[in-house]
Symmetry: C2
């Protein structure tokens, strides 16, 4: 067991979060313990409480950080002011790349959020809603601009695309033969073709 008393708090915080992501992913949140996390970062369990107040608060912080990253993707994309079809393609593409680069973190977000309670649960549910609304907004604008397939139900299509893109987390295995970039291109093409008219057909 190592001790690093002069290590900046921020680095220690990041180490603890990263260790928790790995351990919650491997064991499942319910089966994992704070002792596992303490062992992984070389702290006594008592010392871990200088950084976090409970296992649930650790899960909550992982989710906050994941949402912050997704929020950043949305903000970067909004700043580009793309037309809706290109907006959808880039969103599907960048979200897929994000998932492929952070598979444990993103999978935890979708599989373990039910373990939160109270205010922390309410906050994460609000963030999930914000995420779905972002998808919905892109498709809705495409429809208003006459770029969507004529029979498209925007709400249902939002759910469909979210499940399809989040599905990358289920079937992707690191070390597969296809590059992240090629996977992301394919996922983006499938998502655009599913919902929008072919270019020039509107």
């Amino acid at each position: 067991m190592t001790s690093a008393p002069r290590e900046p708090r921020r680095n220690r915080d990041a180490q603890i979060l990263e260790a928790a992501v790995q351990i919650f992913s491997e064991k499942g949140y319910a089966a994992a313990s704070l002792q596992d996390v303490a062992d992984a970062v070389g702290l006594l369990k008592g010392s871990l409480y200088h950084y976090i107040s409970s296992k649930e608060s650790l899960l909550h912080r992982i989710f906050l950080e994941a949402h912050e990253q997704a929020r950043q993707l949305m903000d970067e994309l909004d700043a580009l002011q793309l037309p809706p079809d290109e907006h959808l393609r880039q969103w599907a593409r960048r979200l897929t790349v994000f998932y492929l680069e952070n598979p444990e973190r993103a999978s935890l977000y979708f599989s373990e959020w039910r373990h939160l309670t109270g205010d922390e649960l309410a906050e994460v549910q609000k963030q999930r809603q914000e995420f779905a609304s972002y998808f919905f907004g892109i498709l809705n604008r495409a429809k208003k601009d006459g770029l969507a397939r004529k029979d498209l139900d925007v709400k249902l299509a939002t759910f469909y695309l979210m499940a399809a893109i989040n599905g990358v987390l289920i079937w992707y295995r690191r070390g597969g033969s296809m590059s992240a970039s090629r996977i992301a291109d394919q996922v983006a093409s499938l998502s655009v073709a599913a919902t929008l008219l072919p270019r020039g057909a509107s």
Copy 2:
């Protein structure tokens, strides 16, 4: 607690399976007990062992039955000898309807199969493979017939569509405003548009 000694064994079997589907869905397989199942069908736990040998065997039988039903969908569809585009549309449509009619059973299949072990796990994994191969086969034939979008990666598209259609189980809530038939039509249209060329464009 009722006893029904003359009730045909087959009916009792079906009741036990149906009760197990409900209980495993509500509590999760890990937290559910055979006592819960026995209580639900009005049997003593000891009597339940006339019908099943263990909790795991009960889960296995639920999966076998779900796969049988999926297998029947595939066989019915194959008998129609449809062209690949219509084959894909009908498969996506019928599979969605099946999910909407059997949400607990189908969700268990996807969420709890990891609880099986040994031969029973191997059998279910083989069936999952068979299910994926059916999807793959339809898309592969469409590609060979020149009906698929030019850049389509058939294997990746198979995973994408499976996640998208299975996603119905996550977001569908009984009692929503959209009919099962309309949901299935939309899911089928999204799946065909994602992967195949517009009609007349090939």
